[in-house]
Amino acid sequence: MLPVTRWFIKAGMIYLTSGMLLLFIDSMPFIGLEIQLLPVYWHMIVIGWITQIIMGVSIWMFPRKRRDRQKRESFLTWSVFGLLNTGLILRFISEPFSGNETGFSAAQWIILLSIFLQLAAAVLYVAEIWPRVQPKRKRKSKT
């Protein structure tokens, strides 16, 4: 298993645990939380857990375009990991506190940055995987 895949999967497991913890905290009847945790929970599960597992495993298992492109691919995949996880963490910190203030608060700027990082990660992941989704004969003819 590739090192970046291990990071994706372990990060995914941390998000899964965090999501369940959040759901547990949100369900406590004696804690009257004034912030909305449900959107954070859903994104921890769907992006943090499921999407990251898909990304990690596809980067590992999908046929490589060319062996000599190893370096470029590994830079792209590490960038996806870094951008996505930084974006997600910033999002989870800021999302529950957004929408309550007027003007530009710190939470709003963090949200803006997190949007940019998550979008960049999505685009780079597609750039990495798209050329690797191709028929076997086409792949062989390229090598």
Binding site: V46, I50, T51, I54, S58, P63, R91, S94, E95, S98, G99, A107, Q108, I111, L112, S114, I115, Q118, L119, A122, V123, Y125, V126, I129, W130, V133, Q134, P135, K136
Partner: protein, 133 residues
């Protein structure tokens, strides 16, 4: 990789980008309150995420990787597989963009069900092990 899987995985990547784009708009709207009308994108966002991106990527990869038949077409009837891709994606489009029109949503759900039934029919016999365990 078979062409059916290529179509499914590439479509799922397109849905993935659309999911992130709509999600970004929603998050932007949450932070900066651009327009209440943007909240109408919420069902579009999660239908695309769960069905277009996750479901289709997983089904496309399974169609490629699961054990192949030893006799006849390796991955089952090709026409059924093509129909599966078409119905699944039609189902996602109709379901995601139904916008509270119940007949459009009904058509979407019908196509989705048809696509999933076709997938199960194609894959049922491929859930096997050819080794003596």
């Amino acid at each position: 990789m078979p062409s059916v899987s290529i179509w499914m995985i590439r479509s799922s990547l397109v849905w993935f980008l659309l999911t992130f784009l709509t999600g970004s708009l929603l998050l932007l709207n949450k932070g900066f309150e651009i327009s209440p009308a943007l909240w109408a994108l919420m069902p579009v966002h999660y239908e695309m995420a769960l069905l277009g991106w996750i479901l289709q990527f997983v089904l496309g990869t399974a169609y490629w990787m699961f054990p192949r038949h030893l006799e006849g077409p390796k991955r089952g009837n090709r026409k059924s597989a093509i129909l599966m891709v078409i119905t699944l994606n039609a189902g996602i489009v109709f379901s995601a963009f139904a916008m509270n029109q119940e007949w459009v949503l009904f058509a979407g759900r019908f196509f989705l069900l048809s696509g999933v039934i076709l997938f199960v029919r194609l894959m049922w016999g491929r859930v096997v092990s050819y080794r003596d365990l």
